[in-house]
């Protein structure tokens, strides 16, 4: 059992279809329909157009650090769900649930929700 501070993958795969996305103009053709939850440490929260993205590090089951990236909606949408430019700080431990993983196999997913260290949950609910 690794140290709790050592980040591990928590949950694996569920087959859920991706709802009609409002993901700007790039589309979501590069994502599959899998779901994954990963616990990690925030390295950057990039609050930009066309999409925001959360960078976080986690260790895989072999102890190797994986640089994860969670893509989220544009700031103009996220703010209405209480998610702001200040929602995440480098060094924070977060649990990120992603629905839609990169078909390329890279450690990238579309964020569905993030749980902060104090247990607060940030999500867009059923909207995307």
């Amino acid at each position: 059992m690794r140290n709790k501070l050592v980040m591990t993958f928590l949950v694996a795969v569920a087959l859920l279809s991706i709802s009609t996305s409002l993901f700007a103009h790039h589309g979501n053709a590069a994502y599959d329909s899998k779901t994954m939850t990963v616990k990690g440490t925030v390295t950057a929260w990039v609050w930009t157009n066309p999409h925001s993205f959360l960078k976080f590090d986690a260790k895989d089951d072999k102890g190797n650090v994986v640089h994860w990236l969670g893509e989220w909606n544009a700031p103009s949408t996220l703010v209405n769900f209480g998610i702001t430019a200040k929602s995440f700080k480098p060094g924070e431990e977060v649990t990120v649930t992603m629905r839609g993983m990169a078909k390329s196999g890279e450690p990238i997913g579309r964020v569905e929700k993030v749980v902060l260290p104090d247990g607060e949950e940030l999500s867009m609910g059923n909207e995307r």
Binding site: H26, A29, T48, H51, F81, S104
Partner: protein
Amino acid sequence: MLNRFVAAAIVIAGIVYAPVTRAQTTPPRQSGKNIHRDGWDRIVPEPPAQTGAPAPVRDLTGIWEPIPGYRDGVFATGPKGYPSDGKPEHELPFTPLGLKTWHEHKPGFGTTAVPIAENNDPFDICDPIGFPRVELFNLRAIQFYQNKNQMAIIYQNDQVWRNIWMDGRELPKVDDVPEPRWYGYSVGKWVDGYTFVVETVGLDERTWIDNVGRPHSDQLKVTETWHRVNHDVMELTMTIDDPKMYTKPWNALDKFKLGLQPEWFDIREQVCAVSEELDYTKTVAKPVDAAANKK
């Protein structure tokens, strides 16, 4: 006596200003709950308040957003009247050239969507979104300013503006514009007290009509009909007429509703910045795409 007067004044002031304060106070976040906010993070009533008042005559002034939901104008898969969803009733009357050109466009959405590596959407490299796409993709908040000669529309989307002349000048013929423009040449006129019709030509062929890559040529003429139903609600109908690309005109929007927002509403900044776009493409869009990774 003076003290009692001052105290009473404070109480009255509190009562008078309390509703305004409540309307603009940011409540605690609620995960997963969509609480609409303006650019200054103030809560925006949704749907907007309905006064029931009649529309002012020949006046579109104000800030407007799609209703009933502020995201109802996103149109990721194409405009409301004709989404790219494969349904026969949504097939556009393409000419052979129109169909060929559409298939040369590689969008991120719709029935012809491609992965990012193959995408050639001009807005992906922050080319100006152009008209009419600025109203057919991500139509968010807009604001009308008007005087006797001009109607100006400013858009949250890509933070751009259009100028519509209503000083009596004629709309240029499509073959007679000085030069193509991203937002074209627009002339508008009131056809009655509540209906403002705008015609636009001279549109740059590099722009797409919508988010799924529907094309247009230099022959495109767009007609917008802005009809103010009452004080609180306006409807937009848009007709696309381009004989090179389509065998007949079609309505991209048909009485699409927008609601008047409070006067204090701050339109959010929503800019396509090249540096951000490049970072996003390099950091997210290409790594996520299996095809791009093989290149």
